[in-house]
């Protein structure tokens, strides 16, 4: 089959619009996910009563269900309780909740990987608990969990491909819509792949650069 450049060029603006939407929701969702994740892992790390339990339940619930089902519940289920959520907000929220649970696990294993001796040594140097945590434990935990964070970010961007199910005009929606209208399947799918590469390749490359740059924790590896 021969691809037509004319057609692809004609579709470009539609895909570009969809790309912007994905970037917008994706960036908000991922930023929130990191906040939620760090917050939750702190709560678990410092063993704050009651909240700790709630956080565990949240993490297990959202790690063990697919985003598509979560979005359906948020978008179609919650309005029945009087909680009407706009599709874009719903997409960002769903991504944030799913991502938060994954980020929390990633960051927690980072915190756990810092040996207790680090904390003890810092305390013996006369640092307060707070100083020791902020200046000794936290930087190491971050650098250990960066690879998992990068993997999660890529995972979350890929997950945005289900947004079309709650009628957000993302890349999948645009591709499916155009295929349905004009039957230019080859062109539409090629553009779809290209646009996802535009988003994900830079993230993947920058991610591995950051990983290499931050690999200072853990001696002798």
């Amino acid at each position: 089959m021969i691809m037509s450049w004319e057609i692809m060029r004609a579709y470009l603006p539609l895909y570009a619009k969809a790309l912007l939407l994905v970037l917008k929701i994706g960036w908000i969702g991922i930023a929130l996910a990191i906040l939620i994740g760090v917050g939750c892992s702190m709560i678990r790390h410092f063993k704050i009563p009651v909240l700790q339990r709630l956080v565990s339940v949240y993490i297990e619930l959202f790690r063990n269900t697919p985003l598509l089902v979560q979005l359906f519940f948020l978008y179609f289920g919650l309005p029945k309780l009087g909680l009407d959520i706009d599709a874009e907000v719903c997409g960002a929220l769903g991504l944030a909740l799913l991502g938060g649970a994954y980020m929390a696990e990633a960051f927690r294993s980072g915190l756990e990987a810092v040996e207790p001796i680090q904390m003890e040594s810092a305390l013996s140097l006369g640092m307060s608990r707070r100083q020791a945590f902020l200046h000794v434990v936290l930087p190491q935990a971050i650098s250990i969990s960066v690879p998992a964070f990068v993997a999660n970010i890529i995972f979350l961007i890929k997950e945005t491909s289900v947004f079309s199910a709650i009628s957000l005009m993302d890349l999948m929606f645009t591709a499916k819509d155009l295929i349905g209208l004009y039957y230019k399947t080859g062109e539409c799918l090629t553009l779809l792949v290209i646009f996802y590469l535009i988003i994900l390749l830079p993230v993947s490359i920058v991610g591995s650069l950051v990983e290499r740059r931050l690999r200072y924790a853990g001696f002798g590896d």
Partner: protein, 224 residues
């Protein structure tokens, strides 16, 4: 109290239909998992070979799977092949092809990781004891590799189950689609069914995945 629309589930055979829908996703993921594990073991073992060509091929393969959303791959196989090659692949088969393609890459990466995590001295010690290469693998390397591999590959099963929810978007009638049908059918008698039904689907997925996640975590703690 507000009507939560849970009563719909107990009308007629609605709950049974939902469970049947869940089974459709489970079937797709189980078949894909089995294929992925077998192929993943082979590809993973291949990846530890020193050949440059093999390395490049597997690298590109992994990179494609890492970067492309499964949804895009589904569209390519489901819509693309029909158009370009004139194949007419059923949605369920397309899903199995895509998830196996994805799962094989994931599994291969796990296998490779487990294989290279075995220190060289294990091979050398086995050789020093006079073991042949076959004996080394059977008695020393493979048992250690499996211990690291099993928890991670069980985890892959839950990810596979969660990913199969995507098949709804290419028209397979699975649990979410059945839920939608039930809600549509009861629109007038219980307008709030969307809440009850989607909450139930959410819980069904949780009940399906959570025990598997726990098992994986337990084994990981015990063995690694």
């Amino acid at each position: 109290m507000r009507d939560l629309g849970i009563d719909v589930l107990f009308k007629g055979s609605n709950m049974l239909r939902l469970l049947e829908g869940l089974w459709v996703s489970m079937r797709i993921s189980l078949i894909s998992v089995v294929i992925s594990m077998v192929l993943g073991l082979l590809v993973g073992a291949l990846m530890t070979r020193k050949s440059k060509v093999v390395k490049w091929f597997t690298r590109i393969y992994l990179e494609i799977v890492r970067v492309m959303p499964q949804m895009v791959l589904l569209f390519i196989v489901f819509f693309g092949t029909t158009r370009v090659f004139g194949w007419n692949i059923e949605a369920e088969k397309a899903a199995i092809i895509v998830f196996s393609f994805w799962g094989t890459a994931e599994m291969a990466d796990l296998v490779r990781g487990a294989l290279i995590s075995i220190p060289v001295h294990q091979y050398e010690s086995a050789a020093a004891l006079g073991m042949t290469e076959l004996q080394t693998y059977v008695h020393v390397i493979i048992p250690q590799t499996l211990r690291r591999l099993i928890p991670l590959s069980i985890n892959l099963v839950t990810r596979m189950i969660k990913t199969t929810s995507l098949v709804m978007l290419i028209g397979v009638v699975e649990v979410l689609k059945v839920g939608q049908q039930i809600i549509e059918a009861n629109r007038t008698s219980s307008p709030n069914a969307a809440f009850g039904v989607y909450a139930t689907v959410f819980l069904l997925y949780f009940i399906a995945c959570w025990p598997i996640s726990m098992l994986s975590r337990y084994l990981e703690r015990k063995w690694c």
